[in-house]
């Protein structure tokens, strides 16, 4: 799957494109988890993601645990209706800093 990564004002923004399911979750895991070895805050921008399953949530849970362990901040942004529903049903919404869009996430992270 396509995953774009860019650095904006010292924040690493990761944008998975399309679907994160059991077939593609490993690619997201490989792109995301190493970022927590560096101090630069991480924003995962879901604006181009229209689908996530429990396999994708597993990767985000691992990322949140790494974030807590290393102190590298993690925020999520830009959830579609479908992605938002999955975060709510799973109770995962309570475990993350979630912002309506990338700009709001960047503002919150750089102000911290």
């Amino acid at each position: 799957m396509e995953i774009t990564k860019e650095t904006i004002d010292g924040v690493v923004v990761v944008s998975p494109v399309g679907r994160v399911d059991s077939n593609s979750a490993r690619e997201v895991e490989e792109a995301l988890l190493p970022l927590f070895d560096s101090p630069a805050p991480v924003v995962v921008d879901f604006a181009q993601l229209n689908y996530i399953s429990s396999a994708g949530l597993r990767v985000l849970l691992l990322a949140a645990r790494r974030s807590k362990a290393t102190g590298t901040p993690l925020s999520l942004a830009g959830m579609s209706t479908a992605v938002d529903e999955v975060f709510k049903i799973s109770g995962f919404a309570k475990l993350f800093h979630i912002h309506p869009d990338r700009a709001a996430a960047l503002a919150a992270v750089t102000a911290a």
Binding site: R19, D21, S22, N23, Y51, S53, S54, A55, L57, R58, L61, A64, R65, K68, T81, A82, E85, V86, I89, S90, G91, K94, L95
Partner: protein, 143 residues
Amino acid sequence: MSRLETPALHLTVRPDLSEIGRIAEQVEAFCEERGLGPAVAHAVNLSLDELLTNTISYGYDDASGHVIDIELAADSGRLTIVLRDDARAFDPTGVPEPDVDADLEDRALGGLGVHFVRSLMDEVRYQRTDGHNLLTLTKYIDT
């Protein structure tokens, strides 16, 4: 042989995770044709994805010669989905509910997929017959 009287969509799935994207496209097209809307399409796709992922990842001792059969039909306010496979016996209705209020450290990921199915579907019925798992999901729809 058909398990639903009038299956509107019949899918045959190889036990390979790469099949899930293809199934999603066909389910989306089916729901759009029937005017079922994106929320119903998402409920069906997420449920099928989670169930297929379980079956494909843990259901077989060998990967050859197996197929998973899926039928969908929508009428009289009900969308019915029947999954049939010859994988190891697995009753998703017997899976304990995960604690969705647990904090980061105590979060278990097991059971989350089945929790989605239960949350998004109105009825889930399991039978084991003739060496096959037969799972019938029903979602109430406005038609």
